[in-house]
């Protein structure tokens, strides 16, 4: 009997089920450590798994954890884009101006990286996370965020500046 429009057999379906079961902790952990909210991580995990099943029914796919992580990364980027749009709407309503550029610092403290990242705006957080936490190249980050490479580089520069500014603010609050 054929599966997935005649392109998938029952053994491949069993393999996909096994992969989804086994990779769930890694996919869920990947998403949770980047969005830092359990509810959002669960939603994005569900979206990623359903997208994987849809792709499985449409075309040949590599049944690997990396393939699932790639899907999850796209879903995470979509989530950040939606969040950025919402933030822009809120900022437009409140009349909030964007952060001003500040001189950079050579070294950063990663001890409170999660807290600092959560204070960034969504696109800056997405750019820094994909570029440095995931270790993707700038063109890959640009592709995931739907921007040009040049625009992504500019976004990364501003994200770093914002990161340092928030890091300094948190550190000042802790010392004060």
């Amino acid at each position: 009997m054929d599966w997935g429009g005649g392109r998938r057999g029952p053994e491949e379906r069993d393999a996909l089920c096994a992969l989804l079961d086994a990779a769930l902790p890694e996919v869920y952990d990947y998403l949770l450590r980047r969005c830092h909210r359990r509810v959002i991580a669960e939603d994005l995990t569900s979206e990623s798994y359903l997208a994987a099943i849809a792709a499985f029914g449409e075309r040949p796919v590599p049944l690997t954890v990396a393939w699932l992580i790639g899907i999850a990364r796209h879903k995470l980027a979509d989530h950040w884009r939606r969040e950025a749009q919402e933030s822009r709407r809120l900022a437009a309503v409140a009349g909030v101006l964007g952060p001003q550029a500040e001189p950079g610092i050579d070294a950063i403290d990663t001890g409170n990286a999660d807290e600092v990242l959560q204070r960034l705006n969504p696109m800056q957080r997405a750019a820094l996370t994909l570029r440095y936490v995931d270790g993707l190249a700038v063109p890959e980050v640009a592709s995931l965020l739907g921007r040009s490479v040049h625009a992504t580089e500019t976004l990364l520069v501003r994200a770093k500046q914002a990161y340092r500014r928030h890091h300094a603010a948190i550190a000042g609050a802790d010392h004060g």
């Binding site: 849809a54 950063i108 820094l128 570029r131």
Partner: protein, 248 residues
């Protein structure tokens, strides 16, 4: 040798970890995934014998034990209907063209006839009675009205060729169309309708289309009198003369 540039933000890199989701979430997600995979399984098609022709089984009574089949005909029925429609349209077009050609020839014959321009002297009104049921009968062509003859018969309409200046005394018919300057008048005494057709100089024959009956025709006078019509002052035609033998 220069040291490679190190981005301090590289310290943010984290190796992949394994954070177990809740058992409820795991069960719910995997159950949904299995349902999605089951939904992708193609259904076994029910193969029913196709009818050779959609019309073949139309008259056969349906048996209760056989399934109801809805067959979308891909045969030649739409093409047959289309061919019949095209044929009917072509036939109508040919008929219309033929009628137009025949009408044009008849009108050309009237214009070209030299006898139609010769109008005799005033004579008593000649009656050309035509009823709706007798419109196909040709008008009596006497020596006084050589050019008057029916051109076209319809159910209650007669088309007459009228020499220039001819008066048509109608017994109640309605003027439908006319060539030339036609004035409809009504005689106050008899109530008959007098229609004076004053045609252009270049025309020898005018054509008037009446409905129902035409009770009288009178050839035109050689020279129009100056008195004019009592009912209409815009024409130089003589006053209407009541029909000598009205049809009604």
């Amino acid at each position: 040798m220069a040291e490679p540039m190190v981005d301090p933000f590289d310290a943010l890199h984290r190796p992949p970890g394994r954070t177990e989701p809740t058992a409820a979430f795991r069960e719910q997600l995997l159950a949904r995934c299995r349902a999605e995979l089951d939904a992708m399984r193609p259904q076994t098609p029910t193969v029913l014998p196709l009818l050779a022709d959609a019309d073949a089984g139309a008259d056969r009574p349906h048996r209760a034990e056989e399934p109801v089949r809805t067959i979308v005909s891909t045969g030649s029925r739409p093409r047959r209907v289309l061919a019949v429609a095209i044929g009917a349209a072509a036939a109508v077009l040919v008929a219309v063209v033929a009628m137009a050609v025949r009408d044009g020839r008849e009108r050309a014959d009237l214009v070209d006839r030299p006898s139609s321009s010769t109008v005799a002297a005033p004579v008593p009104t000649t009656t050309a009675a035509m009823s709706p049921t007798s419109t196909s009968a040709p008008l009596p062509a006497g020596p006084e009205l050589p050019a008057i003859r029916p051109l076209e018969d319809l159910d209650a309409t007669v088309l007459l060729a009228v020499p220039r200046g001819t008066e048509i005394v109608s017994g109640g018919g309605t003027l439908l169309t006319a060539r030339g300057n036609v004035v409809e008048q009504r005689d106050p005494d008899s109530g008959d309708v007098c229609i004076s057709a004053t045609l252009p100089v270049a025309w020898d024959v005018g054509m008037l289309r009446f409905s129902t009956t035409v009770s009288g025709l009178r050839p035109a006078a050689p020279a129009p009198p100056s008195t004019g019509c009592r009912a209409c002052s815009t024409t130089s035609m003589p006053p209407p003369v009541p029909s000598a033998t009205p049809s009604r």
